[in-house]
């Protein structure tokens, strides 16, 4: 390979691109570039706003900027610290464009054009500086190669707040080079200004940019030694000072709780670097979202062609290849710096790839993220793509410049051809990389909108007027804000900064207590749980209006759907207030399934507003007789649902109490205590709002690197509800459910629970081979056989081969026949665990990658019963008080247990029963109440036992029951009512069996069901108890009656099996029989109106002893699936000793909730009618106003004694309150989320409330302001002094 000759070396000074009009050409270049780069973004989705970074910034920039100087934001959550450093330059630019009259989409395009121009222009001038030549073509190619990349289109412009640093990196390096060469204080100041101009969006890109500049300084001073080290330091130190000073305003924001939440709960390194191989990183890809998507398509469609189009793959690699060629052949001063920068930044962008076995550097990164403060903020390594792309662009640009110089030496005719080829080739590469820009495909159409509909403008206006002292709560919680009319970044509530609102999102916010409470609200209605009492929760939140966003595109937003939101209307204390827009847009697009929910949604107005009856203000006083609740926000919602919070008592989490506070509450004689089965130890996925929590984990258990819970109460184990497996140490698995959503109903414990109806499933959308489930024993056991049952998964793939692995290192391989239980026998061996690993599958007919699993693994002498242990923190703290557990004597005490249900009401529930372990502090009589319903999984026999009693003359069973519907059970075909009937799940092979007292039968009449949704029964085979059979045939499809006459015979059982059905249909509808008539055998009518009888048995036990219970309702209510109040049958309650207890409800009478309560104190009630003797007085009145510093001033009148002042803002240690200058001390956490103070002062007084860290933020703002002032004032001062001297 020959090298580029030396001609260009003899050009030490900047020179132009040849004689004659070069300056003019250069000017023309700038004009053309500016015109093109500013105009080209307008080609993509003209007229559509594309939701760049923050909606409010574009839609209401004045409102957005007006909050720049406030650290605390009351909306759109329950109060949180700001983290946006977008006010400058992005916010300022948006404000300027919008103020000048530009629509939001035009302002966005102008801003994007400016960013492209800044990146391109900066690179051009940087290459000028590096080559000391003012070439044109090479510089333009370098500039465009840097600006027009997949990174720009796929990540940069859609989130341009974090992209400004990218656009200004070339300028920063330019300033660095010039500053090092020329010296003086102006250049370091300019360095700081450039960083200041990068804004504070995100933080990591700025840190990476500054680090790159400092690497350049180190190179120049230490390796290149082109500038004395002293001079380098003379530049670097003041540059750092200016950088920190000027950017103090947003650097401070990096310390806020929002940033730490984002680090804890947003994408983790294993996700960030899942696709960032070196080959993807080096061509500007590797950002994980480029490769990801969901059932609705790719998340970043603009990036897809770079990975799927062979031509673009070749051109994508051509740039780094050309950069290497340039680094090889062209010698210039900083060549090796840019080469090494490109290499280093490629590997940094790759990060911990491959995530399963990272390189030593990847492992170092993981350690650093974990242990070095702030390092986790740099885990989004793709943001160093700026340094990589700039290195490549500079090397390509310099290489092209050298090539053009060489070509210039050739003969004129050859020169023109070569020049055209070189420039043309380079431009083709750049153009290929930039194809979204000139093809108009720069933006994601699915993330855009023409604008917010007028009906929303009217709704927001009305809500703003009504909610000055309250909040408007927006449903549903959003993962992304896609509406039927288009997409926003964050949703309506975010885009209206002046509106006092709550808009739950997927990520925890603030100190996370509020987010946990909002998640509980969201989970409740989405799971179809009745919403009684939810209005009380809204009162705690200071909510006046509840906004149902029925025009949400719930499929794309990954949110609850409007039909589910209608569950909120179930609370009579939420009254309809107004609707906005015309009904209709809630229905999904054409082609989707039009089920009942869809039909309902078609009748809903796009915006529906409910109003809370008697709302409470955000800032208020509450009587000092709290409900002390053991649990979390899910417990508050459950307690409200059960009426335990009626009257609005303050709620205090027991886990926030120390012994002193508890003693104080004992003494206060107004507190009541509620222990719930909430604050479950779960691994969460904060990438979605539903189906985002794992099953309940064992103490200390984790699931990979997923965050455990909301991190409440510092993760104290005693405050958690955990799963225990008596007799077993732990049950673990390599995975469960599928990788897109949590399915706790298919948790590993199901494989060992002795119930073949509950399954461990794994490997959906994946390859299940290699996955395993493991039971670890408390003590080593000797095993010689196990029985394995695989679930009946229909036509889907199933497990065919498994390997049993033991702790002694041995293993046994076994086949698992479809739908059968396999007993695997082997040589006895002693083992600490049994692991069942999937080795091979049997392919199903369905091509889908469905989950496979195990229904049950029976280990002789062992059943892994799952028991949920409720929090123990309250009793632990009570033991530390002077009174000990006796302090609870005479105090209202309640245990509240609810069955865990899944987010999808059509799916299996997480728990099929309630099994709880709890401790009672003092002996007492507890009233048992709650809610039960008929378990859809109950057998026909179990249902008839409940509704007809166990001693009945006829027993009817069937092979299956359609969808588990009780009214479709076998008994419905022998109840004497032709209007009711048995409906199966399948068709041929289904059977119905009737057992009765032995008698002679010589005929039979079967009334089968006909209709569109039934397979007509054509032939049946009837089997008698003596084994004889008869065949019956349907005469005509007009009449479904099958009449059979046969030789009389004695029998006590008739089994009717369907052997043939009418014309085949796909899918085959079920069969049904309305009635069977057996001469001489009386049918068993179901007494619909009869009161349900008591039931005794193993289905409901306390400490292993059966408890007689009943549902308070009729047989008809039960069969209709209604929830019925639970009651005991004997005595007034259950006497519980002061010890540990275990309550189990696992029968066909399925408990949704169980409440054990000592009942109200008998000697007195307080003003709200709640128990409490004598109890503190009612709460005083409060009037309040906001202060300019983001705090509040509250005037309290009529205080008669101790009370809580609740500010309705998320609890944060920084909140401070004072009365007449006297500090009230640190706040306490009340009502599940809010900061509050317990105040004993009487009469009237004024409280000043401020958010403490606001002062530090204000100081940081002042520092930035002073630096800015100094930088601009200093030159003026110098100029003035010089002028005076003259």
């Amino acid at each position: 390979m020959r090298a580029i000759p030396d001609e260009i070396a003899a050009a030490p000074r900047p020179s132009s691109d040849g004689p004659g009009g070069a300056t003019l050409t250069r000017k023309a270049m700038w004009l053309i570039l500016a015109g093109l780069l500013l105009a080209l973004p307008f080609l993509s989705l003209p007229g559509l706003y594309v939701s760049d970074t923050r909606d409010a910034l574009w839609l209401d920039p004045t409102g957005y900027l007006s909050r720049t100087f406030l650290l605390w934001r009351s909306s759109p959550f329950l109060g949180h610290e700001a983290r946006d450093g977008l006010a400058f330059p992005m916010g300022a630019a948006a404000w300027l464009f919008r103020t000048a009259g530009a629509p939001a989409w035009v302002a966005e395009r102008l801003w994007h054009g400016l960013l492209l121009l800044a990146g391109t222009a900066g690179t051009i001038v940087l290459v000028d500086e590096l080559t000391r030549r003012r070439e044109m073509l090479a510089q333009v190619v370098a500039g465009l190669a840097y600006s027009l990349t997949p990174f720009t289109f796929g990540y940069g412009l859609p989130t341009s707040g974090a992209y400004v640093a990218y656009a200004l990196l070339p300028a920063l390096l330019l300033v660095t080079l010039r500053g090092l060469r020329r010296g003086g204080i102006a250049w370091p100041a300019l360095f700081g200004l450039v960083v200041f101009s990068m804004g504070g969006g995100n933080g990591a890109p700025q840190v990476y940019a500054v680090s790159t500049a400092f690497l350049l300084m180190a190179w120049v001073g230490v390796v290149d030694r082109g500038v004395p080290l002293r001079r380098v330091l003379a530049f670097a130190v003041p540059a750092l000072v200016f950088t920190l000073g000027l950017n103090a305003w947003w650097v401070f924001l990096l310390t806020t709780s929002e940033v730490s939440n984002a680090l804890d709960f947003s994408e983790q390194p294993s996700v960030i670097n899942v696709s960032s191989s070196v080959s993807e990183a080096v061509r500007g890809l590797g950002f994980w979202q480029f490769y990801s998507g969901d059932r609705l398509g790719a998340w970043v469609p603009v990036a897809r062609p770079y990975v799927t189009n062979p031509l673009l793959i070749v051109t994508g690699f051509a740039l780094p290849t050309a950069a290497l060629v340039s680094a090889w052949l062209v010698r210039w001063r900083h060549r090796l710096f840019f080469l090494f920068l490109a290499i280093l930044s490629t590997f940094v962008v790759a990060g911990i790839f491959p995530v399963d076995s990272p390189t030593p550097f990847g492992r170092l990164l993981l350690v650093a993220y974990d242990r070095v403060p702030g390092a986790a903020g740099l885990r989004t390594t793709y943001k160093l793509g700026a340094a990589l792309n700039l290195s490549v662009a500079v090397l390509v640009g310099v290489g092209l410049a050298a090539a053009l110089e060489r070509i210039r030496a050739a003969s004129r005719s050859r020169m023109l051809g070569l020049r055209a080829a070189a420039v043309g080739g380079a431009l083709i590469l750049v153009a290929a990389n930039a194809h979204p820009l000139w093809t108009g495909g720069m933006y994601n159409a699915a993330r855009s909108t023409e604008g917010i509909p007028r009906y929303w403008d009217r709704a927001v206006e009305a809500l703003s007027e009504r909610n000055t002292e309250h909040r408007a709560y927006f449903f549903p919680a959003l993962s992304s804000a896609v509406y039927r009319w288009g997409a926003l970044k964050e949703g309506i509530a975010w885009s209206s900064p002046d509106l006092s609102a709550v808009q739950p999102i997927r990520l925890p916010v603030g100190t996370r207590y509020g987010s946990n409470l909002l998640a509980a609200i969201e989970h409740g209605y989405a799971a179809g749980i009745p919403q009684d009492g939810i209005a009380q929760v809204f009162r705690y939140l200071g909510v006046k209006d509840v906004v149902l966003q029925n025009d949400i595109d719930w499929e794309r937003s990954n949110s609850a759907r409007p039909a589910q939101m209608q569950g909120l209307t179930g609370d009579p204390q939420l009254r309809p207030f107004a609707t906005f827009g015309l009904p209709g847009p809630a229905a999904p697009e054409e082609g989707t399934v039009r089920d009942e929910a869809t039909r309902l949604e078609g009748t809903l107005s796009p915006v529906e507003v409910l109003t809370v009856e008697d709302p409470t203000s955000m800032i208020r006083a509450e009587a000092a007789s709290p409900v002390v609740l053991s649990g979390d926000g899910f417990g508050i919602v459950a307690a409200a649902r059960r009426g335990l919070l009626d009257g609005g008592p303050p709620v205090v989490y027991s886990a926030t109490l120390g012994p002193e506070q508890l003693e104080w509450l004992f003494d206060d004689r107004g507190a009541s205590f509620v222990v719930t089965d909430t604050n479950r130890r779960r691994a969460w996925s904060f990438s979605r709002t539903l189906e985002n929590a794992s099953y309940t984990l064992s103490p200390g258990q984790t699931l990979g690197d997923r965050p455990i819970g909301y991190g409440l109460f510092d993760g104290r184990e005693g405050a958690e509800t955990v799963a225990l497996y008596p007799g077993l140490g732990r049950i673990t698995a390599s995975g469960y459910g599928n990788r897109l959503r949590d399915l706790p109903q298919f948790r590993p414990a199901n494989a060992f629970d002795g119930d073949p109806d509950t399954w461990w499933l794994v490997g959906a959308l994946d390859d299940p081979v290699g996955h395993w489930v493991q039971a670890t024993f408390e003590e080593p056991r000797t095993l010689s056989e196990v029985a394995i049952t695989v679930p009946p998964l229909g036509f889907a793939r199933q497990i065919r081969l498994v390997r049993l692995e033991f702790s002694d290192g041995t293993s046994v391989t076994a086949e698992t026949p479809k739908g059968a239980s396999t007993v695997v026998e082997f040589e006895p061996r002693r083992t600490r665990f049994l692991r069942v690993r999937i080795l091979a599958l049997e392919a199903g007919i369905s091509p889908e990658e469905t989950a496979v699993g195990i229904a049950d693994v029976q280990i002789p002498g062992l059943t892994a019963r799952e028991v949920i242990r409720v929090p123990t923190d309250l009793l632990e703290v009570a033991r530390q008080t002077e009174a000990g557990l006796a302090g609870f004597r005479g105090v209202p005490f309640t245990y509240l247990f609810e069955r865990a249900r899944t987010g999808d009401p059509r799916d299996r529930d997480e728990e099929v029963g309630i099994s709880r372990r709890f401790e009672v502090p003092v002996v007492g009589v507890y009233e048992l109440t709650g809610e039960v319903r008929l378990d859809p999984r109950a057998t026909d026999e179990e249902i008839d036992d409940l509704v007809l009693g166990p001693d009945r003359p006829v027993r009817v069973t069937a092979s299956s029951r359609a969808f588990g519907i009780p009214r479709a059970r076998g008994g419905a075909a022998f109840d004497g009512d032709p209007e009711t009937g048995w409906v199966s799940n399948g068709a041929v092979g289904e059977w119905l069996r009737i057992e009765f007292e032995r008698r002679t039968v010589g005929g039979l009449t079967i009334h089968t069901q006909l209709g569109r949704d039934r397979s007509p029964i054509v032939v049946v085979e009837v089997t008698f108890s003596d084994g004889s059979t008869e065949v019956g045939r349907l005469e005509t499809l007009q009449d479904g009656t099958i009449e059979m006459e046969f030789a009389p015979r004695g029998t006590d059982e008739i089994t009717i099996e369907v052997t043939s059905v009418g014309p085949a249909r796909d899918p085959t509808p079920p069969v049904g029989i309305d009635e069977v008539e057996i001469p001489g055998v009386d049918p068993l009518p179901v007494p619909d109106a009869a009161i349900l009888a008591c039931t005794d048995g193993p289905g409901f036990t306390l400490d292993g002893l059966a408890v007689s219970v009943r549902g308070r309702g009729t047989v008809g209510d039960l069969l209709d699936g209604e929830a019925l109040p639970l009651a005991t049958c004997r005595g007034n309650g259950l006497t519980l000793s002061a010890s540990r207890h275990e309550l189990v409800s696992a029968g066909p009478l399925q408990a949704d909730a169980i409440v054990l309560t000592t009942g109200p104190r008998e000697d007195a009630t307080d003003a709200t009618g709640r128990s409490g003797s004598p109890g503190p007085p009612s709460a005083p009145a409060v009037r309040w106003s906001s202060t300019s510093e983001g705090g509040y001033e509250a005037q309290v009148t009529g205080a008669l004694g101790p009370h809580y002042l609740v500010i309705g803002q998320s609890f944060a240690p920084g909140w401070r309150a004072s009365v007449e200058g006297q500090d009230l001390g640190p706040p306490v956490l009340v009502d599940g989320y809010s900061a509050a103070w317990r105040i004993t002062r009487r009469g009237s007084y004024t409280v000043r409330i401020a958010y403490g860290p606001q002062r530090a933020y204000a100081f940081a703002l002042v520092v930035s302001g002073l630096f800015l002032l100094a930088i601009f004032a200093a030159p003026l001062a110098v100029w003035a002094v010089r002028r005076r001297r003259r």
Binding site: D6, T308, V314, R333, I343
Partner: protein, 131 residues
């Protein structure tokens, strides 16, 4: 001699750190080739360019997705391109390191100029192995 030892050690360490075992293999191979065969830097430059140029074809050869969603495992499944790009950068680093090691201070031209390879002490940008 010390410079060469330092260079080899630094490169091997960096290659192992950043590129893992593959990086180390590349580094050892390059060092061996340099010391045993006396290859010049230009050979390593050429190899680095060739490997990078081959990476797109390896990507294509290992299959391009046709589904709407590419899939998060794209990087992992296209291991050959990853390996080629890694080796390319390791060799480019080696070649660049040779250039750096053998370069006297400020030999690459005056401040900001664009000197050619002829300005270097050894024509072609390479160097001979220690004899």
């Amino acid at each position: 001699m010390i410079r060469r030892v330092v260079f080899v050690a630094v490169h091997a360490g960096s290659a192992l750190l950043l590129g893992g075992l593959l990086g180390l293999v590349g580094s050892v191979a390059a060092t061996t080739a340099w010391l045993a065969l006396g290859l010049r830097a230009s050979v390593f430059w050429g190899a680095a360019v060739a490997l990078m140029a081959a990476a797109p074809f390896a990507t294509i050869a290992q299959g391009l997705p046709s589904r709407p969603v590419v899939g998060a495992m794209f990087g992992a499944t296209h291991w050959l391109a990853h390996a080629l790009a890694t080796l390319s950068l390791v060799l480019a680093g080696f070649a660049g390191g040779m250039d750096l090691m053998l370069r006297a201070p400020r030999e690459e031209g005056s401040d900001g100029g664009l000197p050619s390879v002829e300005a270097l002490p050894s024509s072609g940008g390479g160097s001979s192995p220690p004899s």
